[in-house]
């Protein structure tokens, strides 16, 4: 009789220890690494999305500027080549954990930013172009897209910071070694020299 009461008590203890353990594990961050990883991946998609949006704007912009400034062919050439190179790079979710691929992607986009900067700088010297409604609309769209890219990049950097910190600090580090040993830290953007350099205006 006493034994069966003790047995029932043990069973009921196990019955609530299991859910309790689950709660503890969740509270201690067993899910944090996958959660942060998914968030960072989502932010990465947004970055790609905005870069794509910029690439989509370029042909129209180039055509419009060409209509007013045919002689600036070297600038058009540079933009077109840079756009083609940026589009040619294969980007997917694994790019963010591959330092080489990430660097390539960033360099190509930086190249395109520089070429676009020169295109807009050249446009400054054509008054007819500057007052063209189509050009103004495209210019504001490009500005807006560049701004979205910078917001998306910042959101991505923040998400990666959370994820990388979780991977390398307690208690995430323990979970990483037990359950998520294949997870690698993600790459962050650096401000490229190409993007920082102001377009040169030649006289």
């Amino acid at each position: 009789m006493i034994g069966s009461v003790a047995g029932a008590s043990r069973a009921s203890r196990i019955a609530f220890l299991v859910p309790l353990l689950c709660l503890f594990l969740a509270g201690c961050g067993v899910n944090s690494i996958p959660t942060y990883e998914e968030q960072a991946k989502a932010k990465w998609s947004e970055v790609l999305n905005q870069y794509q949006r910029r690439a989509d704007l370029i042909p129209n912009l180039v055509e419009t500027v060409k209509g007013f400034a045919k002689q600036e062919s070297s600038v058009f050439e540079a933009v077109t080549v840079a756009r083609a190179q940026a589009s040619a790079i294969q980007v997917n979710a694994s790019t963010i954990t591959d330092p080489e691929a990430f660097k390539k992607f960033q360099a190509a986009q930086g190249q395109l930013s520089g070429a676009l900067g020169r295109l807009l700088a050249v446009s400054e010297s054509y008054p007819d172009l500057k007052s063209n409604q189509n050009f103004l609309a495209l210019q504001s769209q490009l500005e807006g897209t560049e701004n979205r890219i910078s917001v998306a990049r910042r959101d991505y950097i923040e998400a990666v910071r959370l994820y990388n910190t979780e991977l390398t600090t307690f208690p995430g580090r323990i979970w990483a070694s037990i359950l998520y040993s294949s997870k690698k830290p993600m790459e962050e953007f650096t401000v490229s020299e190409e993007a920082k350099r102001l377009p040169q205006v030649k006289f």
Partner: protein, 251 residues
């Protein structure tokens, strides 16, 4: 006793891990018109608030006007989206909010557009509004006039013709339906509460000791940890987010 203490400590550590986010100091969201820089008269504010409220009733899009003295060294593009996110203007998950920001020290104006409105209030349109309706008046010192005509234009773009209203309404309705579907069913919450209560009763009856106390601790911590969001004013952001849409101008 030591085991009980350890359990309590673990429960406390696990449940109080809060992420503190740094934000620049933003003005408080005191209404639909936040006039920190004092560019508007009380009559202007009242009239603008009324038209913004009517606009939200019609389309469910939130539009807020904010004037600040200084951007505290932040570019207006960065300030704008961060302020929009901070105030959470626009409906949650639909992000149908927009801000008209005026910074007097920096002579900058910006229309910040939430994710959900980017398709309607495009960058090009915001640029046109800023260049044609706002800046000419700002340049002559008529801030109230510029803000009023800019606001009118934004409202006209977002709801001017029947087609736009229709598409805005459809967008909001369609997303409303989707939202209710993804909401957690009530029965899940009920089952969860019953399970916790059952556990507590069970462990009290069987004399759970330390484990029982730990559960009580967790329940109490969870209850106390619920973040209440109380606002002084009757107007608040709906939970919308911003991603850098819109455009800026300088006078």
């Amino acid at each position: 006793m030591p085991r009980r203490a350890i359990l309590c400590v673990i429960a406390w550590i696990c449940l109080t891990c809060a992420v503190a986010a740094e934000v620049p100091s933003f003005p408080a969201l005191t209404g639909r018109v936040v006039d920190e820089a004092g560019l508007l008269t009380a009559t202007d504010r009242a009239a603008l608030t009324e038209s913004l409220a009517a606009f939200e009733t019609k389309t469910k899009d939130q539009l807020v006007i904010v004037t600040v003295k200084s951007l505290q060294g932040t570019p207006i593009e960065d300030y704008g989206y961060q302020l929009g996110r901070h105030w959470q203007i626009g409906q949650k998950d639909k992000n149908t909010g927009a801000l008209l920001i005026v910074a007097t020290t920096e002579h900058r104006v910006r229309i910040e557009v939430g994710y959900g409105l980017e398709g309607t209030l495009t960058d090009a349109l915001t640029k046109v509004i800023i260049e044609n309706s706002i800046l000419p008046k700002f340049k002559t010192g008529d801030f109230a006039g510029g803000i009023k005509s800019g606001t009118q234009d934004i409202i006209r773009v977002l709801s001017g013709d029947a087609e736009t209203i229709q598409s805005a309404a459809e967008r909001n309705v369609a997303m409303d339906v989707k939202q209710t579907k993804t909401d957690m069913p009530v029965w899940v919450a009920i089952v969860a509460v019953l399970a916790v209560v059952g556990l507590l009763v069970l462990c009290t009856v069987t004399g759970g000791g330390g484990v029982c106390q730990a559960i009580w601790m967790m329940v109490l911590l969870l209850l106390s940890g619920g973040r209440g969001s109380s606002r002084g004013s009757s107007f608040g952001g709906g939970g919308g987010s911003f991603g850098g849409g819109g455009s800026s101008g300088k006078w």
